[in-house]
């Protein structure tokens, strides 16, 4: 097993709102290995963005609060750092890219200023050196005429170009971990592919580990090494890309895969998952997916399933894995390769 750069244990995050307490993340654990790409997949509102922002400790408090858990990074628990120490981590060791490149850049500052301020914050170098580095970064992410472009404002760039700038901005201090929250959702399909290519290329060149937050399984299939599927604030299944795509075990994962258009399965219908996720004001203590699950059993509404480890990487939270379920449901037993 490779080294873990980042390891999250039993993370709980709550938001106090107008209507009451929302438990957005309810005991999430995962790890990130050096140089790999981990995708966290799920519907909107499943807690994937909150999880990623918790790692950066960027949850607005109030109303958000990390109520439990640990986030180990390079031997220290990020949740135990002071805000000032955490600032030293943000941008330098762990960087983040947000969904919409149109709004992620400050409209009144040149992109040069915005790229350079990160380096100037974390490294003790002159403005001139910083500008050289910024040019290097822009070249790395494939922006032509980087020297001239540094002096321009965000509105003078297209959406795809802006996302490249955002990536350059995030990588300028050579962080160990890059968290990308829906980095391609706001882009055109053709641009999406280019940006994903860029991620792979950048990872190859810099060895950065990437956490990719997305709801788009197409994106995941292209770049992820491992995949964690989140539902209602919990990771319900986790495995390598092969395992998740070819032998999904959780009915939710299976549902997600069936609801994605596939070119390789001609004639197969798209099957949406009926219903909507549970309300996180009062999440069910048992399996949150039971209400929408085709294979739900009595037990699913009573007790949360225990974690079943299938391979070294693959594990799932589902009662169908219980031997008793297999005997009950023998006609529709799932094949496990």
């Amino acid at each position: 097993m490779k080294d873990n750069v980042l390891s999250v244990q039993d993370l709980h995050v709550s938001f106090t709102t107008y209507g009451g307490e929302v438990q957005a993340v309810r005991g999430v654990s995962f790890h990130l290995q050096k140089g790999e790409t981990l995708a966290i997949v799920g519907e909107s509102g499943c807690g994937k963005s909150v999880t990623s922002q918790s790692i950066m400790r960027l949850i607005p408090d109030p109303p958000g609060r990390i109520t439990n858990g640990s986030i180990m990074f390079n031997g220290k628990d990020l949740l135990k750092l002071t805000e000032k120490e955490m600032r030293g981590v943000r941008g330098a060791d762990i960087s983040m890219i947000f969904q919409d490149p149109m709004t992620a850049l400050n409209p009144t500052l040149t992109i040069g200023e915005q790229i350079m301020e990160g380096i100037l914050q974390h490294e003790n170098i002159s403005k001139k050196e910083a500008s050289v580095k910024a040019v290097e970064m822009l070249t790395l992410v494939g922006i032509p005429h980087p020297v001239e472009r540094l002096k321009q404002y965000p509105h003078q760039f297209s959406g795809g170009m802006r996302q490249r700038i955002v990536i350059a901005m995030a990588l300028v201090c050579q962080p160990d971990v890059l968290i990308a929250d829906e980095p391609t959702t706001a882009l055109d399909v053709t641009i999406q592919a280019q940006i994903l290519e860029l991620f792979k290329e950048v990872q190859l060149k810099t060895g950065v580990s990437i956490i990719l937050i997305t709801h788009d399984l197409g994106v995941v299939a292209q770049v992820a090494d491992r995949i964690a599927v989140m539902y209602a604030g919990k990771i319900v299944e986790e495995g390598t890309r092969r395992e998740i795509f070819y032998t999904p075990q959780h009915p939710y994962t299976q549902g997600l895969l069936k609801s994605v258009p596939r070119l390789d399965l001609v004639g197969s219908d798209l099957i949406p998952i009926a219903g909507s996720p549970p309300d996180l004001f009062s999440p069910p203590a048992a399996c949150p997916f039971a209400a929408r699950c085709e294979k739900a059993m009595e037990v699913c509404d009573r007790v949360y399933p225990v974690k079943t480890k299938l391979t070294n990487d693959h594990h799932v939270d589902c009662w169908l894995q219980d031997p008793r379920a297999k005997s009950m449901l023998s006609p529709i037993t799932l094949t496990i390769s």
């Binding site: 960027l58 600032r87 969904q99 992620a104 400050n106 009144t108 914050q121 404002y153 901005m169 995030a170």
Partner: protein
């Protein structure tokens, strides 16, 4: 850029022409005004009026000549003080009013912005509530009430500061304070809401994700964007302060243009009312225009828009 500027100047000129024309014809429409047939003014005044307004000519010729005199910045004679012209009054009164207005604007903008930022950064805490209650009070208390309250308390009861005239910095404190409260409250509220909105923007989150300190984020990323809407109201605020000088100068016996203006209203000195209105309107319209230009320089997106227009 050129097209935009041209359009903007054209609108400005039309607005000016509108107010000039409005003033001219309204003044000529008042029964019993010196411009009318049945006038009862002294001989000297009559001479002055005829010399300036060419009352013996047909109305349209009068109007044309009037426009011409305005272009040369000649605002005409006074009735009540026959030896004076509106230009004389402006020359004496306007510098004082301008000083009062500018000090007020400066105080209002500075303290309003500070208060607004403070409230936004301490959103939903005690300081925020206090600042905003203070601001609503500031908007709700008319400046003439504020002025009399200040006179009553500070000048009469405590005897700390002088009440009237405009001779030393001590005399300036109460009038500027009375005049600045309203605009300051408006700026504070606007800054707060605009700051709160900016702080939720994605680029602020990006800046936080870079590891910048809160102070740097506020100063470098939030402030400039938050203050853009504040710039847009400066023109309107200047107008409010200017009209505010009418009552403030009256109450504090400050010999500014506002005081002359109010006197001219009370004495129905129509040429002065006319001249002053035109002068003040021109002043404010030009202010609005300058504010627009300044906005263009502060927001890089506007420049592009203008380029696209071209």
């Amino acid at each position: 850029m050129g097209t935009y500027l041209f359009k903007r100047i054209l609108a400005m000129v039309i607005t000016l022409w509108l107010i000039v024309t409005l003033t001219f014809f309204l003044m000529h429409a008042i029964p019993g005004s010196p411009f009318n047939e049945e006038r009862n003014t002294s001989e000297m005044v009559q001479k002055n009026l005829e010399a300036h307004y060419h009352l013996d000519e047909p109305l349209l010729v009068q109007y044309a000549l009037y426009l011409k005199s305005l272009v040369t910045l000649d605002f005409g004679p006074s009735i009540t003080q026959p030896s004076q012209t509106v230009n004389d009054l402006l020359g004496r009164g306007f510098p004082i009013s301008f000083e009062l207005g500018m000090i007020t604007l400066f105080i209002a903008v500075l303290s309003g912005i500070l208060l607004g930022i403070l409230a936004a950064l301490k959103h939903n805490r005690m300081i925020d509530y206090m600042a905003m209650t203070f601001a609503v009070l500031g908007i709700s208390i008319p400046n003439f009430v504020m002025a009399t309250m200040l006179i009553q308390q500070v000048a009469v009861n405590w005897e700390i500061l002088p009440v009237a005239t405009w001779t030393s910095w001590k005399h300036m404190i109460l009038p500027t304070l009375a005049l600045a409260t309203g605009p300051m409250a408006i700026i504070a509220r606007l800054t707060r809401s605009s700051m709160l909105e900016v702080l939720t923007q994605d680029y602020i989150r990006t800046a936080r994700a870079k590891g910048l300190s809160p102070v740097k984020i506020v100063v470098k990323h939030a402030l400039r964007n938050a203050l853009l809407p504040v710039v847009t109201v400066l023109g309107t605020l200047a107008a409010g302060i200017l009209t505010g000088t009418f009552v403030i100068e009256q109450i504090f016996a400050i010999p500014g243009m506002g005081k002359y203006f109010v006197e001219s209203i009370n004495q129905r000195d129509y040429p002065v009312i006319m001249g002053t209105t035109v002068f003040y309107s021109a002043f404010l319209i030009v202010m609005l225009f300058l504010v627009d230009l300044a906005y263009g320089f502060l927001d890089p997106r506007i420049k592009l828009h203008k380029k696209e227009v071209k």
